[in-house]
Structures are given as C-alpha cells and as structure tokens.
C-alpha cells in the first residue's frame, strides 16, 4: 500500500511536470473561473447582508405639509395607529424637526428658518419590511400629507444591479469552467498517450484497472486543487484589499464558506476532467 502511494504520487508528479505548460494553462483557467464564482458569492452575501440591515431599520417617514391643519395631522395619526401593518409610529412635531435641522443646516441658513416652515412628520416602523411600500401608497395622497419616503426603492435597485452582475459572473464562470474541464481532460489525454507503452504492459501483466487509473485521476484532482487554491487566494485578497464598508462588510465565516465552495467546485472540475479522459482514452 505504501509502495503504491509512492508510485502513484511519483507518476502524478512526473506527468504534471512533463505536461507543465498544459498544466499551467489548466490551473490558471480553473483559477480565473473560480475567482469569478468566489467574487459572485461574496457580492451576493454582502448584498444580502446590507439589505437585511436596511430592512431591519426600515423607517417609513410620512411628512406632513407645513400647512397641514391639526385635524389633518390627528386623522393621519389615527389611521396609522389603526393600520395593522404599522408596528409603531413616533410623531415629530414641527418644533422638534426645527431643532433637528439645526444640526444639519449651516448656521447662516438655519437662522432664517422658522419652526413654522418645517414640516412635522410621523416616523413609522412597518410590521414587515416589505409593507413599507403599501404604507407609502396608502398615505401618499391623504390630505395634509406632503410626501412619504421609504428606503425600499433603493434596496430594490441595488439588488437588481447586483443580480445582473452576478448573472454575468456566473455565466462567465461556467464558460471558463467548461474550458478548464476540457483543458484538464486534454492534459490527462496527453499524459495517457505518452504512457501508452507502460499502460499496455501494465494491462498485459495484470495490473488492476484502479492501479492504472489512479495516477491520472490524481493528476486531474491536483490541477483542480491548485486552481482552487489560487482562486481562494484571489477571493481572500479581494476581501482584504477592497474591504467593503459598513453594512456591506461580511464576516470571516462568509469568507470561509465561499472558499469551501471554491475548493469543492475546483476539485469537482478536476475530477470530471480526469474522469472523462479515463473513460475515453484509458479503456482498461
């Protein structure tokens, strides 16, 4: 057994070295393909993270017109209180808003502002984040309401963009993965071809099929593994050198998860490539 391991390892390394140009091409293709997969996964995770955080803090703000009468304000208030999709509401009086605008506006402009100019508002939390839109639609045209704002729109737009980027990455990655498989298949075909004398002698003297096959399977496996190692490095570098800020930043567990996926896919690509090569060219 130990002899065989040594034999298989030696054969694998010799084959890799003999076809080193092809090996490098195959490994790089796997690496680029898996880097795309890895980046797509990271992007997706950070987008999900950001959306979740935004949704947690989703506030729908119902801005009353500065001229709204107190009757209109209390009517809106009761309606908000009665609506089951609204969890809670806080009323910001004109005066409170006026004070708050002090911290936003430059002093020269704020001094021109009178409490009567600023609108009062209701800051509401919907029961379910998705209801933010319904609340917006319901109160937009109530008398005395100036406008209703919700961050939902923003989230949707971002998710839409990210989904497009993701699809592009994944399609590219699949195309590259297919080329990687073909490249690996080809290196192994060349290795088998350059060893055809050995293989025919092995068959003749009664070497088992697995004995003959394993070095070639290992070869594909190693190529996949090397490719995913490079890709894992790229994913890690992406996260380290382009750290995403605030709500986009993802934890190291997400990075690990991504790298495990990258590793598994790399090994899969290698195994499929060598599997096909063996079926086609090493008919024992």
């Amino acid at each position: 057994m130990r002899n065989y391991l040594r034999y298989a390892l030696r054969e694998t390394l010799t084959n890799l070295w003999r076809n080193r140009m092809m090996t490098i091409a195959a490994v790089l293709t796997v690496a680029v393909s898996l880097s795309l997969v890895g980046s797509a996964l990271l992007l997706r995770q950070s987008a999900a993270q950001a959306s979740a955080q935004w949704q947690l803090g989703t506030r729908v703000t119902v801005w009353m017109a500065p001229t709204a009468t107190s009757g209109e304000i209390s009517s809106v208030h009761t309606q908000l209180r009665q609506l089951p999709i609204v969890k809670s509401c806080v009323f910001q009086s004109q005066y409170k808003d006026y004070l708050q605008s002090k911290s936003i506006l430059p002093a020269s402009e704020w001094t021109l502002l009178k409490p009567g100019d600023v609108p009062s508002s209701f800051i509401c939390t919907p029961t379910v984040p998705n209801d933010a839109f319904t609340i917006q639609a319901t109160f937009q045209h109530e008398p005395g309401v100036y406008m209703v704002t919700a961050p939902e729109q923003q989230i949707r737009q971002m998710n839409h963009t990210i989904r497009i980027v993701q699809v592009v990455f994944i399609v590219l990655a699949i195309v590259l993965m297919v080329s990687a498989t073909v490249l690996i298949l080809n290196t192994i075909r060349m290795a088998i071809f350059s060893r055809r004398r050995e293989v025919s002698v092995m068959k003749l003297v009664g070497a088992t099929n697995w004995f003959i096959r394993i070095p070639y399977i290992t070869e594909g496996f190693v190529q996949g593994l090397l490719g995913s190692a490079v890709a894992m490095g790229a994913v890690w570098a992406l996260k380290t050198w382009y750290p995403l800020h605030n709500e986009f930043s993802i934890g190291s567990s997400a990075l690990w998860g991504t790298n495990i996926v990258v590793l598994l896919v790399g090994v899969l690509v290698g195994s499929v490539g060598s599997g096909i090569a063996i079926r086609r060219f090493l008919d024992v």
Binding site: Y7, E198, V205, A207, N209
Partner: protein
C-alpha cells in the same frame, strides 16, 4: 489447463478468425501453434488473455470458464499468464532490471519480493551482468530474453509466445527456444505460435495447425508441414 470447446470468433468487420476450434492442452505441455499468416494463431492467444471474446463455444482455463469472469477479475487471470511477443515490447526508458521489476511492481508485489526475484530471473535468462543496460544497448536476442524474464518473473501457470523468434537469427532463436523449454520443465504450460519450420521439426513437440481458423491437425510429436504419407 486450457480447453477450447467448439470456439468460433469472427471480428467485427466480418473477418472469420477461428471456427469450431476444440483443443485440450494439459498442464505442463509444450504446444506449437502453426499455420499460414492469417490462419488465426494470434486470435487463439488473444482469446486466452480475454482480449477478445469468442462468439461461440467455451474456453476454460485452469477449470474456469473465462467468459464468466467479471471484468475486474481479468487482471488476476492475466497474472497467471505470461506473454512474449515478436516485437519484445520492452519499455525503452527503463533498464533491464527496471523492466522486469515493473511487472511485479504494478501487480502490487512488495519491494522485498521484487528485490529477490528480479536478479534471480535475470540470472536464469543469462543476463545477470546486464541488468543496468537499457533495451537499445542489447542485441535482439538479449531483448527477447528480457521479455521472457518479464513474462516469467511472476511464475505464471501458462506462458504464451507469439512468434517469439520471428525477429531473431537462428542462434538467438535457439537460445530463446532453450529458455522456453527450460521454463516448460518447471511445469509451466507453454503455447507458442510460430512460422519457424526448423525449430518445430527439431523439437518434436505437440503441433496444432490452423488453416483459415480451423484446426486441421493436432499431432503429439509433430513437424511443421504435413509429413508425407500422413494424408
């Protein structure tokens, strides 16, 4: 040891190679397989290795129907059969010793077995001094002796030789024949396909003659051609 029962084989392209061959070869026999080119000698040997399947009939080796062997058992069948060919089939980038050792290594024999068996068998074929040479540094006769050593190093029950002297001059053919006889005396069954008339005539061993895939003669102490007065 080897039993053909009404065996027929037609290749996929329609070439009939063997038809209704029935032959029984006992353990320890030495058999010449003769016949014109294309008469089916190589096909006979390939069937024994299960490189081809018969279309009809049964082949038993050591009492077992080889058609019933599952695919994964075929390598184990071949471990009991040594093979020698006209073109030697040595690995050009391995030394004599490595070539012979390879046959043991790839069937998983431990290094200690390899280390003890290889020099012994090289001594037997008279190449004890030339183990470090590469095949191209040897004469044809010496290369064929390496091939015999490789075929016999695992002590198979059967040794198949397909025109082993086909590429050799008479002197080298002699020494290969002597070697095969010696192997036969250890109890190994030897089946040798050949066109070498003188050899067959001199050896006076069993001769099976094929003609267009049919056994036309099976003679215990035969000669190459049909002896006068027999027909």
């Amino acid at each position: 040891m080897i039993l053909f029962e009404n065996v027929s084989k037609t290749y996929k392209n329609g070439t009939p190679a063997l038809s209704h061959v029935s032959v029984n070869i006992e353990k320890g026999e030495f058999v010449f397989l003769v016949g014109a080119s294309g008469s089916g000698k190589t096909t006979f040997l390939r069937l024994l290795l299960r490189e081809e399947f018969p279309d009809q009939g049964r082949i038993l080796e050591a009492g077992r129907d080889i058609a019933s062997l599952p695919k994964w058992r075929v390598p184990y069948l071949r471990r009991n059969i040594g093979c020698v060919f006209q073109d030697f089939r040595l690995l050009p980038n391995k030394t004599v010793t490595e070539n012979v050792a390879f046959a043991l290594e790839v069937i998983g024999r431990p290094a200690s077995t390899v280390a003890s068996q290889v020099p012994q068998i090289l001594e037997l074929v008279g190449l004890g001094e030339k183990g470090h040479r590469l095949p191209h540094e040897l004469s044809g006769g010496e290369q064929q002796r390496v091939a015999v050593a490789r075929a016999f190093v695992n002590r198979p029950l059967i040794l198949l030789a397909d025109e082993p002297t086909g590429n050799l001059d008479p002197t080298n053919s002699e020494s290969i024949m002597a070697l095969l006889e010696r192997i036969n005396r250890t109890g190994t069954t030897v089946v040798m396909a050949t066109h070498d008339q003188n050899m067959v005539n001199r050896m006076r061993r069993r001769v099976i003659e094929l003609d267009h895939g049919e056994v036309v003669r099976d003679q215990v102490r035969g000669v190459y051609g049909v002896p006068e007065g027999v027909l």
